[in-house]
Symmetry: D2
Subunit: 424 residues, 4 copies
């Protein structure tokens, strides 16, 4: 019996889907301890935008360690943090005229969401949050109340209060997303918020993802998201944009909402921000909201992660070069071109997504499970998401070589076809 | 204006206490970007038990990176994780006959506590948790409900339900800890739990620290903790031991409760576990409790931190050598010998703690603040904790050289004396 | 200064609208202590269906008192209760083949709703309740969470959890009721309840009024209410029908939903049930739901009100005579005929209602307030309800003499016309 | 099968203890429909302080009905209410220099408590309430959260939040009341409230009974209650005194706390206030608290109960005559003299109480049940209360004739002796 079977908690999950022991990895390729190699279309659930062991990041991190750079420093100042913040401000915030402050917290996405909820409640003096169907925002109690999936909510063991869910306004109509576009929902909310006898009060914030990744790769309708922001402004609520999985270049722009013409009050980032897989989380908070914090109110031991700042600084450098995001968009088109014919071929298949995040809804969790297992057996890592796990998500590193991308796509399409044919 | 003043959130805290930019660090010494050097009696709030840039860990981590070891892998298996788990089982669990399973989650202490609360509620089918006055357990909503300090609770913005607090049974009587020993509280609870008309129902779990670090370095009375465990067993509740700050060698044994003769159902670890400052969190959960988890119910992107496993594996190796903990205990005695005379000299001073964690209660937050500032100006990093911030905490790296320890202690004692004399 | 100004709480309300001291009353006429007479189109907010000091009830009550009938007996058996229950079973339940049990509780509508919520939660093992926009269900914390009006909710002082509101499916479209018919809402809920990632879980119960009286006299669409019942059955939730204000003959049948072809699991009654104004409340609960109660779980000192049983028994007798309800329907038509022309005359006026409950929406709370004041000055009691108090409600005693009805209607129409003309 | 077995809810309780159908009653004697007669030592759970069908009240009520007095009027003014309020102010409030306002609400004790909680939360801007072990305050969700007994709490079906319980400071030490006197608890709370790191925040109010009737006839220690009031004042919390069962003359003075030298901010009254068993509830609220109400914020259909005002006015008249309360105190001494020897005779028996409310703790619910059944079979109505139902409560009408009192006491003592002898 392996140490994992002997001693690891029953909660372990992905290792059941990929029952091998991984050893080394480089860019989009991963090797197990038996020497088997895998193309990685999962990228650490969206963390490894720049590939495993990105060479530029490796060098920067090793140099930093060799010169005894401060590794851990809570929220004290460090030169590593200084450099990261300067780069982020210059490359990301200033070109967009974003006045937002950067807040670092415990280095997990859920912690970023918790901090966002706190400051929204503080700044508005309200308690209620509106989140959306199929939204995923984390596992700690405050964030979990915003997560829609009952498989996670059911583990809370206590009621999840002060959050209500409304139908997400997806670009594409899906069977579990009854309101395509969802414009009516916004107008309906407006009426309800105005009516003192409706039982509805304006919330502290609306918490939304541009692209619901875990929720099944549902892309928000642009007009809907704009309407939502307009409603938020009207009723004195904040707009919190959770860009933890879809941000940091994944969709072909740094923020997933760069072409949505919106201006969120708080933006949650994590996953890809640190560049190569060490933890980091950061909220961007408008100064007029941020000023409501008192020093040290939301602490966290690991909130200053120097290695993540060092590698993350290298990640930001990618965005200084316009050709990088052009490449992402180009690869995204390649992915879509290969995968979208599945829609025509199988009535139960729907392809959704943006840039280098695609979701292939294969109609049932069983189909998806089979496809994931077959791909793995064939040297490709993909994972399922969405309602009942029926969507297979493709999120290769943005830096994946063209050849690996093609190989992986071919493998994927082959197995979807096989499974869908067998299922029909 | 520095980038920090321009762009960092108002919530930043420690950087206001130590208003410099740190650059490099080695073992117990830290340098700022102006070349000033500081002896570190804070150790990253208890993270850096093995010092900054511990040589053994540096080498292991760099080797791992150089050979393209998998850095990020969620809860998939990796060779780094395998090695860590095997070492931990062999060095820590097996000698103690501990059957506990290891659960990894988002790498923050608060996340470990959230997971512990979930499994306790699930395993017992109950909702309520009992925590204790001055307890500190984290910032996310579930853990925050257990944290006693109102400065943190007040930021929640929503009611913190399903947790009640009872007086902590401290070894030493303190003015904010009205029940010395606290045995009566346990007996009182027993009567209340037995009485169906008391308004009290047995909780899912009692959540307690052996030593309340953030709470002011309050050491639990041994008998009280045993009585608490007995009460928990009697009423069908779990005992969750939060050893996040006091564990991993800090008190002269691996677990802070090794000499308490108790057997907690769940143990939360984080901070020092990763060895050199990269994030990690782990719960040890008895199999009969752990079996209530369903796969993937408490996920987290960064729950498999390979660098922390690699460095943490080196940390575990320290505990294979009995002389290491002897050294810790010896240094602890040195600290106590130097500091305890302050108690005799100043009636308002009380010294508390165990091993290499000492708390010097200087009677008021103002006194403590002055001492911290004076020490910093004199090249020593210490921080305040406890009710109103009136306790100065001394937690140097366990690996601190004797000379640095002596220098630091002398500096500290000198400034306490100066401030206390001025205050009287 | 009167005793009321000196000693009555600032919370007093209706006495500010009708600033006189009432002394005597008979059927639909009320006199103040100065001898001024008023026609009563308010009937104690729907209590006095059989008029003030109904002769039959007076005689029965006085006889009961004179013979020393037990007046107060909690939930012990009494001959008064026996007679009431036998009459109710024979006249109301048996002809409808209703197997429901009768539960008596503290004699207020809010208490009936609290008991209904408890048994629904117990019977289903669920916590959440769905109530509807503009619904009114009472003032105690459990019922208040179901009441939609923020003017009442705001007094709770604590969050009102475990209840969510959905748009009421009104027969007529109104500006504050955005979804006319509301069929889509039911279908939308069905999809959301089926989807494990929607954030929506089926509730313990749907709590609904056939006619929202306090909410502005909104009549439920028949098909909508049937669809709601179908959804409830499908997802394992109970249907609780709050018939406290609209029941007991008010709409031309005993239950307000007699012609809706539905079969609620729990029906809440109070107000008119006791016949002449002494308190009583009763739930009708299907046996398979009722069996989940343990004896004495929802107690209440005043739950056996003998005078209310005695008078209520006389009230039931009215329903043995078919001509009584024919008369109610006839008077209802008279009311509608007189009032509905206001709709044609004023674009802002909408008339809603059923039987002898009419609501005249006059577009604003200011208009309604003026109309109520003018009517009062002219000897007619009416009261406002609905969002912002913009609906004037007409609920005369069912026993009102034809002449008083005509006089009152003429007064009312006259003042509506005057105010609406002035407002346009 | 009787109509009760056929159609009454399974929740019915007292009728199972007294399985007969009561018909008539006069003062302390009740007759069933078979002509059997019972002496009533239960008095409608404390409602019938002036006996069944009190002659003075009967006459006043019949006169009122005969002259068509307004029976139901919500919170409009009426001459009946005017007279009641004037009498209450003159006889009860003015002699005590009490500036309190009178607030009427839905006529149940639980409704009075709900209103008290609302105004306390509003006036302090706080949410938490402190109630006490064995306290009983009602069945609706807000009041139920304050009630300690799990048999009632368990029926809520949702968490009961925003209330915590502390040990009641009883005059006599009991096995389920671990802290005799309880002075330490108050001092402990004071320390905890002062300490910002204790997890304890001062509440909106302390809600307490002078004598816990349902809780087992526990009499509050005088000093403890004074200390509690002092603590409340210190921390800015209100003192709410629930005098619903013990008030209105029961203990030998109008308020049960008349000799405690305290000055509660809010006093809840109901039960005995209406005199002869028709429902009424009233809060006395200090003007500086009451002014926080907005008109109509806590409504209730039956909040103006004219018959209760009429009969209640007669009840107040009793307190104009000093000899009445002297008589009550005298009868109380008679009761105590007869019953207290049981304490000496049986080690498991403890006698508690004040005035004409005695509780005889017979050590177990089984003993108490047997005594209640034996007494009933022997023509005496008594009921059980307290933890596990182990206390038999004696609360005869205050107007009981000396002979009935003696007969009842003899019956009671005889059956206690028989049962306790059999049990030992």
């Amino acid at each position: 019996m392996s140490i994992f079977e002997q001693r690891e908690s029953e909660i372990r999950g992905y290792c059941r889907v990929y029952p091998v022991v991984f050893d080394t990895a480089s860019n989009a390729r991963q090797k197990d301890d038996q020497g088997n190699e895998y193309i990685d279309f999962f990228a650490g659930a969206g963390v490894l935008n720049f590939g495993h062991n990105n060479e530029r990041m490796k060098r920067a991190v090793i140099d930093y360690i060799e010169r005894d750079g401060v590794t851990h420093h809570l929220d004290m100042h460090s030169t590593a943090k200084q450099t990261f913040m300067e780069s982020f401000a210059k490359t990301i915030l200033e070109p967009r005229d974003m006045p937002h402050k950067m807040q670092f917290m415990g280095p997990t996405g859920t912690n970023a969401v918790e901090a966002a909820l706190k400051i929204a409640r503080r700044a508005t003096g309200r308690t209620e949050i509106v989140a959306f169907t199929h939204g995923f925002h984390g596992m700690t109690l405050g964030a979990l109340a915003c997560t829609a999936n009952q498989a996670f909510r059911g583990a809370a063991g206590v009621p999840l209060n002060h959050v209500s869910h409304f139908p997400f306004g997806a670009e594409k109509h899906t069977s579990d997303n009854p309101l395509s576009g969802g414009k009516d929902v916004i107008e309906q909310l407006r009426v309800l918020y105005r009516d003192g006898s409706s039982g509805f009060l304006p919330p502290a914030a609306f918490l939304v993802e541009t692209i619901q990744a875990e929720g099944g790769v549902n892309v928000a309708d642009k007009k809907w998201l704009q309407d939502l922001q307009a409603l938020a402004r009207e009723v004195g609520a904040l707009l919190i944009l959770d860009d933890i999985q879809a941000g940091c270049g994944r969709t072909g722009s740094f923020f997933s909402f760069d072409d949505y013409d919106i201006d969120p009050d708080v933006i949650c980032l994590a996953k890809g921000l640190g560049g190569w897989g060490t933890p980091i989380a950061m909220n961007l908070v408008k100064p007029e909201v941020d000023k409501h914090w008192k020093p040290g109110e939301h602490t966290g031991t690991f909130r200053g992660q120097a290695l993540s700042f060092v590698a993350g600084n290298e990640a930001i450098a990618y965005f200084d070069d316009a050709s990088f995001l052009q490449g992402v968009r180009h690869k995204g088109e390649t992915m879509l071109k290969k995968v979208s014919p599945l829609e025509d071929k199988f009535s139960k298949v729907q392809v959704r997504g943006k840039g280098m995040m695609l979701g292939v809804d294969v109609g049932s969790g069983d189909n998806a499970k089979q496809i994931v297992a077959d791909c793995f057996a064939d040297g490709l890592l993909v994972a399922a998401c969405g309602s009942g796990g029926r969507v297979v998500k493709l999120i290769p590193p943005l830096t994946i070589p063209e050849e690996d991308l093609q190989t992986g796509l071919a493998t994927f399409v082959r197995h979807v076809e096989k499974v869908m044919e067998a299922a029909s």
